[in-house]
Every structure is written in C-alpha cells, then in structure tokens.
C-alpha cells in the first residue's frame, strides 16, 4: 500500500525529532527547512508536506547526506524505504525471445 501524506509527515517528524537529539536543533532545522514542500515548526514537527513526496523525501535525505552518509544510513532507515527509486528497465518478453530463440538463428543459417 502506498504511504499517504500523513504517513510521510509522521515519519519525517519522527526522524526530525531524532536528528534534533543527535545533531542539535539549530542545524537540524536549518537543513530540513531548505527542503521545498515541507513546513516545519520550531519543535521539528512537520506541519505541512506538499508536492511529490517521494521526491521531497529524496531532497530531505540529500540535505543530511551532505552532512554525513553514515548518519543517514544509521538513523533514517524508515525514510530511505520511502525514497523515490529509479524505475528498473524492463526488457519486453517478446524482444527477449527474438534475441535468444535458437530456432530463428538455425533457420537463418539454413536459408
């Protein structure tokens, strides 16, 4: 099931509260408030989240990755799961068959 906006707000708020504890409030809020689409109050609670939220999540993570990749990896796991992933390139099944069908190759040689 796709996460809803309240889900995003809840997870982002939890992460922010943890970051305030780890990094301190000033730096955490400075970094988080640079992310477009998020409104954050002084306690670190996300009061509004707009736009494409997986993209917003990626921007949020990138702000903190700029500080420390280890920090993101160790303390933002729930958010990493919501991050927008690149769509995998899927090769159509019929194309695969065209390439690998050995009968076709054999027939071509025979012709």
């Amino acid at each position: 099931m796709q996460p809803t906006t309240p889900d995003y707000k809840k997870i982002l708020t939890e992460i922010l509260h943890k970051q305030i504890l780890i990094l301190g409030g000033q730096l955490t809020l400075m970094k988080a408030r640079k992310v477009e689409g998020l409104t954050i109050d002084d306690t670190g609670t996300v009061t509004n989240a707009t736009g494409d939220l997986p993209t917003v999540t990626t921007h949020f993570l990138n702000e903190f990755r700029d500080l420390s990749k280890n920090l993101v990896q160790a303390t933002m796991q729930p958010l990493l799961e919501l991050e927008k992933k690149e769509e995998p390139v899927v090769v159509p099944t019929d194309q695969k068959l065209k390439i690998y069908n050995s009968d076709d190759v054999t027939n071509r040689h025979l012709v």
Binding site: I22, L23, Q26, L27, M30, L67, N70, L71
Partner: protein, 590 residues
C-alpha cells in the same frame, strides 16, 4: 512655482529611488563580500586543519588525538564557548571539554548530558555508566548562570561504527552559520575517513599478528600496565593448564611454580631494558624456557634514551621433548658403547688367550673360536640395526619382494628359537596354518621382523611361559601374530614403542637393547604395505599383529611380465631404493 515644486519633487523622488537602489546594491555587495570572506575563511581553515589532522592521525591513529588537533585549530573557523568530545573506546566513555569562555560547572553538565543523549540516539547501544571527565581551557566560574544557547553535535564514525560525538556550544544565540557547521562536518568526515583507513590497516596487521601468535606452538602472552593480561595464545593456556575462558595474570601466577616470581622478573626485564631467559622451569609436569621481553613505546616517550615501558611479552618454550630426546640420545650412546664394547672385549680376551696360552687344547680353542663368532654375530647385528635405522630415517630403506612361501620362513624361525626357549623352560607353540597362499614378500626382512618379536618375547616371558606364532588369512591379507605370556607393556608406553630409542621402562637393565628393534620392524612392515599393532596387558602378556596385504593383481602381473627372474625390488611409498646387502636375518632386540 508649481513647475519648480513639481521638478523638485520629481528630482527628489528620483534621487530617493536612486539612493534606495544604491543602498540595496551596497547591501548586496557587502553580503557578497562577506560570503566571499566566509568562503575564503572556510577554505583556509580546511586547508590548514585537514593536513594537520591527517599528520596527527598518521602519528597517533586515535580518535582522541584527532579531536585534540581539531580543537587546537577551531578558533580560526568560528568563535565558541566550549568544544567537547565524548568518545567510546575499549568499553570506556570519556568526556573532554575545552572551555573558551568563563562558563559554570552546570553549563558543562548540560553539555555532557546533551552529548550522551546524542550518542545514545545515534548508536542505539547501552553506554557505560561510568564516564571519565576532563576539563581544560578557561577556569570555570560557578557564578556564571549562562547556559548553552547555540550548539550542534557531530557524530564521529570510525570503521563504520559510531565511536563518539564532537560538540560545539555558545552562550550566544544563532552563533553558528550553516556554512560553518557544514564545513566542520566535512572536516571531521575527512579526518574520520583517514582514521578509519589507518585503523583498518592496523586491524588487518593486528589480525595477521594475532593469527600468527595463535598458531605458534610456543606459548605467548602479553602483560601491559604492570598487571593487565592483554593477550594470551592457546598454546600458553595449554602449557599452563589454564581452562578459564578469560584468564587474568593472577591465573598465570597460580599456574607457575610457587617459588617463581613472575612479577619480579617482569620488573627486572623492564628495568634492565632487555630480554631475560629462564633456563628451565617445571610447570605442570613440563619443562619450559621462559623468555621475558620488555616492550617500549619509543613514539610517545619524552627522550629516545628513556623510552616508556608498555609492558612485556612472555614466551614459554616447551623443552620437555627436547630434553627427553637428549636424554634418550645420551642413554643410547651409553648403551651402544656398552653393547659394542662388551662383545669386542670378549673377542679381544679370547684372541689374547689363544695367542698367549700355549697349553690350550684343540677343544678349548674351538670353544674360544665359537665364543668369538657368537660375539661377532651380535656385534654385526647391532651395527646392522644402526644402519637400518639410519636408512629408515634417511628414506633409503628398501625391501626385495619375491613370490614365496611364508610358512617355510615361519617354520625356520620356530625351529631356530625352540632350543633357546627350551633352555629357559618356555614353550614355543606353532599355530601357523598348513596351507598359506603364496605371498609377495621379502623373506629376509620378514624373518627379521619375526626374529625381533620372538627375541623380545623370550626376553620378557618368565620361566614356564609360552610364545605362540599364529597366522590367519582372508582374501586380501595375512596376519602373523606373535603372542607371549610375559610381563606386558603398560598402556601409556605402547604408543611410543615404535619410536627410535624407545625402551619399555621398568624392563630392567638385563633387558636393555638398542631401542631400535621395533622402529625397524615398523619400517619393514610399512615397506610391505602392511600394519603392525599390539594388544598388551601388564603381567598377562603381549601380542603383536602384523598384517600384510596379498599382492594386487597389477603387481602380480608386473612380476610375471616384466621381472620373471629374480626378486622384485620394491620401493616403500616413503623410501627410495638402495642396494640390499644383508646376508642373514638379524636379531633385533628392542
């Protein structure tokens, strides 16, 4: 008038706008200049601090020295009230704060609590309750009621694990810009990467060293800070008979002899600045040499001539076997001198008598010649044994197999030993099967094996006892057994029986031999692709079993096809061929 007023208003307005625009532009320019200045300051700071930290880390790859270098240079980047570190090392938590302003103890306490919370949140692990503290910089002022208004923490990752938190605080509001904080993050990140890299190398080297020490046959342990046992290998635990999972130096003290004071020896080694060696120490029924080598820290010493002692490494070298071998060799030399000298003395005495005494009868002369021959044969047997043992050790022992009749060889041996046994009131029982299949074997060497076993049986079987020679065979193997009702061999001595110079203890001096007999027997049986085992019970007797495989199809084919005439010279798996020379089976006494 109106026109003048109008022009004035327009002019004023234009100037006003121009002034505002100029002011905005000036403000913007000022901001740009400040930004540029900040950037230059940040770059200068990074350029200065990163190489300095790397150099420090290279010299002392430790998180504390990394932080120390950072604090020393931090003032160049930003003003602050305190710079602190909380580090976790060897399960110990250390809090260090450097005060740049006159702050109170409660201020320091608040910083510490905030950092502990940060470390707990980022590491998700239970931290030690005890925290070592150190405060440096400006003297604290408890009348100052200020608290940290601005602060930020930087978790420090080393080798993929959080090893601490660095923190900056200020009594001023919004004291740090994002640029400054981010710059410090990057500096610490780079230093952490360098530290991780060096620590990874050190960890790898330490693993190699630990693995090497663990695989040593010698016992090794390390004592640091006077009495802390920091490393001990399995060999040391085994030698000292310590079974505790986490032993201390005290356990080693208990394991060592009561009159051996290791603590004093350690102190002496450190004071003298050189290794000491304890010649022989009896520990848990083993003889050991103890080497104590002081370990010095030349890097962190004030003067190279007076290095700081870190502790000692102790090596335990087990010399029990060496001593035992040396003793065996010494015994062997004494025994050989006696064994060779006795027949030579008899031969010389007989010859002297024959040369000097003119009244000897023909009968007496014949008897003396008989004695001389008997002693010569004994001498030759002993020399042959030494030669065979040397060949076996050098891998040059060979046998000459022919397809022959084992029964006739065994029958000859029974016939040979029966008169001697009869003289000792010992019965020789023949249980050799009537129809034995032909066997590919070296008749002289197998006769030598049976001779040795029967000679031993005769030596150790009391009057009224018996010696039985038996054979049993199936499709693949034939087993020859020599069984006696003698004194038997204690269980603990049985495994060493086939080793060179081995003698059954308690057998008495009258039964002493070269100690080479069973060593050679084992070599001959193995050269036939066979095995030798024994069953023995003290006071009840001993049975030796020699199992030899019949020739394989391939071998038989090879015998008839390629070597139809004469013996097949076969090389035992471990022994290259050498010319055979023995003319008669030798009597090998154990």
């Amino acid at each position: 008038m109106n026109l003048v007023t109008g022009l004035f208003v327009i002019t004023t307005t234009i100037f006003g706008f121009a002034a505002v625009i100029l002011s905005v532009l000036e403000e913007h320019a000022k901001k740009q200049v400040k930004k540029q200045k900040d950037l230059v300051k940040e770059i200068s700071f990074k350029n200065a601090i990163i190489p300095a930290m790397n150099e420090k880390i290279t010299r002392d790859p430790d998180i504390d020295s990394m932080v120390e270098e950072l604090v020393g240079n931090l003032r160049n980047l930003m003003p602050y009230s305190t710079a602190s570190s909380l580090t976790l090392k060897d399960s110990k938590l250390t809090f260090k704060v450097y005060a740049q302003e006159r702050i109170s103890f409660s201020y320091v306490k608040a910083v510490k609590k905030s950092m502990v919370d940060s470390l707990l949140a980022v590491s998700n692990q239970v931290l030690p309750v005890q925290i070592n503290e150190s405060i440096s910089g400006i003297i604290l002022d408890d009348e100052n009621t200020q608290s940290p208004i601005s602060y930020f923490h930087i978790p420090i990752w080393v080798q993929g694990t959080v090893k601490g938190v660095f923190s900056i605080t200020s009594t001023q509001k919004n004291a740090f810009s994002e640029q400054e904080m981010t710059a410090l993050y990057h500096v610490i990140h780079q230093a952490s990467v360098s530290l991780s890299h060096i620590q990874n190398i050190l960890t790898t080297e330490k693993t190699k060293l630990t693995s090497m020490i663990a695989s040593l046959a010698d016992g090794v342990f390390m004592v640091e800070n006077d009495s802390e046992l920091t490393m001990i290998n399995d060999a040391a635990l085994k030698l000292l008979n310590i079974t505790k999972p986490s032993p201390t130096l005290f356990d080693i003290f208990i394991a060592l002899p009561f009159d051996y004071n290791l603590q004093t020896k350690i102190q002496q080694a450190i004071q003298n600045g050189k290794a000491t060696k304890e010649q022989e120490l009896n520990v848990a029924d083993r003889l050991m040499q103890v080497f104590i080598t002081p370990v010095f820290d030349y890097r962190n010493s004030e003067t190279p001539d007076n290095p700081k002692a870190l502790g000692v490494s102790v090596l335990l070298h087990d010399i029990t076997l060496e001593k035992s071998m040396a003793q065996m060799k010494e015994d062997f030399t004494h025994m050989m001198v006696h064994e060779l000298r006795a027949p030579l003395t008899v031969i010389k005495g007989s010859a002297d008598l024959m040369m000097t005494s003119k009244s000897l009868t023909a009968e007496e002369t014949t008897r003396l010649l008989g004695i001389m021959k008997e002693q010569s044969v004994k001498l030759l047997d002993d020399v042959s044994s030494i030669l065979d043992a040397a060949k076996l050790e050098a891998g040059k022992f060979t046998i000459e197999k022919t397809m022959g009749d084992l029964k006739s060889v065994l029958a000859e041996r029974i016939e040979f030993f029966t008169p001697e046994a009869h003289n000792k009131n010992i019965t020789v029982i023949d249980k050799v099967e009537d129809h034995l299949p032909p066997l590919l074997f070296d008749p002289k060497r197998i006769a030598q094996v049976v001779n040795n076993l029967m000679t031993n049986s005769l030596k150790f079987t009391p009057e009224g006892g018996s010696i039985t020679l038996t054979t049993k065979h199936d499709d693949k193997t034939i087993t020859i057994s020599v069984s006696d009702t003698g004194m038997g061999i204690p269980k603990e001595q049985q495994s060493a029986l086939f080793k060179k110079y081995s003698q059954v203890s308690g057998s008495g001096t009258q039964h002493k031999g070269t100690g080479l007999g069973l060593f050679i027997v084992d070599g001959i049986v193995k050269a036939h692709g066979g095995t030798i085992t024994l069953e023995s019970e003290p006071t009840k007797g001993t049975t030796f079993f020699i199992t030899i495989p019949f020739a394989t199809e391939e071998l038989t084919k090879s015998n008839t096809t390629h070597m139809p005439i004469g013996p097949i010279q076969l090389r035992s798996p471990a022994h290259p061929p050498a010319p055979a020379h023995e003319e008669s089976p030798t009597h090998l006494a154990n």
